[in-house]
Amino acid sequence: MTLPDPEDLLDALYAQLKPRVTAETALVGIYTGGVWLMEKLLARLRAELGYTIDSGKLDAAMYRDDYTRRGLKSAAQPAFIPFDVNGRHLILIDDIFYTGRTTRAVMNELFDYGRPAKIELAVLINRGGAQLPIRPDISGADLPLQAEQAFELSMNTQGRLQLRLTSAATESSGAARHV
């Protein structure tokens, strides 16, 4: 498979994201890759809108359904939701959509902050394989992948996104994880 340039996918995602953003919208990035993407999307929105929309970051490690099997991921990152979620339109930003379990965990965590009016899901790549009735609302690309393979998004020292295809068994630990 020839891998697309993730910066091109980000352009495609931004084009779909922008018309959905209103004064009520806040972006919530899912660690780690989703937060990188969110920062880039926020910068573009700020440049076009002339103001900064609210944003937060979540990891949802405390809401994952594999805790009893795998324990707590020790490198979990603190949640940061510096705005009132009640009545807000939230757009979750993640890098790769796969099983939908991370999205479920993130939504459960968000509801412990309050009751959003609407939640949408924006991802860079939808690789297929959902195990729950959850699908992205918008994606940079739909690229179906075999179960034993995985996309790995990373960011180089210049802040440029890079995409790599790995076999699931050899996923490196330094990059974003997508389960």
Binding site: T68, G71, S74
Partner: protein, 318 residues
């Protein structure tokens, strides 16, 4: 070397004392606790990690504060909590510790939080529980109070993140204090270069220097230029014999007053594990003053206890 606190994968299985725990585990607990600090500020102050698990607080020795903070920590993790005050219960009817513990195992408890007046009680229980049960020492005799030591270093790290650059003084009744022992082990393991203990000779254990501390018998010398002052409670209930002339005299010589605190660095923080004896080891003006972080210690204590239980309660499959 066999370490009863770690499982075969080197992960935390029981928390019995800070002594013997590697720096990696201490940092894992402290980093995990960072995630739990924010939970108390949300609309729903709960996360679902320990849903369906039972935490049993077995207190052979009375304690309201420690038991309450363990209870609230377990409840914020969604666990069911059972509080057993054994000092007023079956033991007074003659039941042995192991019979009490076996009964709780039969009730399918998952985590035991144990406080006992005898040093080593938590170790003893940990050796006798099946592998799916974890034991947390909530204070055993004069030996250890590891979650207090952890919450103290967590609090220090919050205010003074550069631990490798700190000068810390621990003041008061070190002899009877399991808190002091746990604090000293936590601070040395995390690389704090200078730890002082300030106490009268009668309230210091023999060979205390072997723990890696400098000993002072004089507040004016000991507090000079320290970054952190950790006060200890004068443990009247553990005193036997004439170790002290009187609590008033103790305050005269070792009480933390504003004048003495002024000898420390201007940005020094003041800590106390509670409950405080105002006018005995600490002056109210200091306890309620701007350098006091005594109440944040309580708040962080919940996050640290949540972290310990969350790390113990999860699966260990790699």
């Amino acid at each position: 070397m066999y370490n009863p606190q770690l499982n075969t994968q080197g992960q935390l299985q029981h928390l019995l004392s800070i002594e013997g725990l590697p720096k990696r585990i201490l940092n894992e607990i402290l980093d995990t606790a960072e995630n739990f600090v924010g939970v108390a500020e949300r609309e729903v102050k709960k996360v679902p990690l320990l849903r369906g698990k039972t935490v049993c607080n077995i207190f052979f020795e009375n304690s309201t504060r420690t038991r309450t903070t363990f209870e609230i920590a377990a409840k914020r993790l969604s666990a069911d909590v059972l509080n057993l005050n054994v000092s007023t219960s079956s033991q007074s009817k003659g039941e042995t510790i192991l019979d009490t513990v076996n009964n709780l195992i039969a009730m399918h408890a998952d985590i035991f939080v144990v406080r006992h007046q005898q040093s080593g009680a938590a170790h003893f229980i940990a050796q006798h529980v099946p592998p799916h049960i974890s034991v947390i020492n909530a204070g055993d005799g004069r030996h250890a109070h590891p979650t207090q030591g952890l919450l103290d270093v967590f609090t220090i790290r919050k205010y003074k993140p550069e631990l490798h650059n700190l000068r810390v003084a621990i003041v008061g009744d070190v002899l009877h204090s399991r808190v002091a022992r746990s604090e000293i082990h936590a601070l040395t393991t995390l690389g704090v270069p200078e730890i002082r203990v300030i106490a009268p000779l009668t309230l210091l254990p023999t060979d205390v220097e072997k723990l890696g501390v400098q000993v002072f018998h004089n507040m004016e010398h000991g507090l000079k230029d320290v970054d952190v002052v950790m006060m200890l409670r004068l443990q009247n209930e553990r005193m036997s014999g004439a170790l002290l002339p009187s609590s008033q005299e103790f305050f005269q010589t070792f009480g933390l007053t504003p004048e003495r605190l002024a000898l420390a660095r201007p940005d020094a923080i003041v800590m106390h594990p509670g409950p405080m004896n105002r006018g005995v080891e600490i002056d109210s003006a200091v306890a309620d003053g701007r350098q006091s972080v005594i109440l944040p210690q309580v708040t962080y204590g919940i996050a640290v206890r949540m972290a310990v239980m969350a790390l113990l309660g999860g699966g260990n499959a790699a």
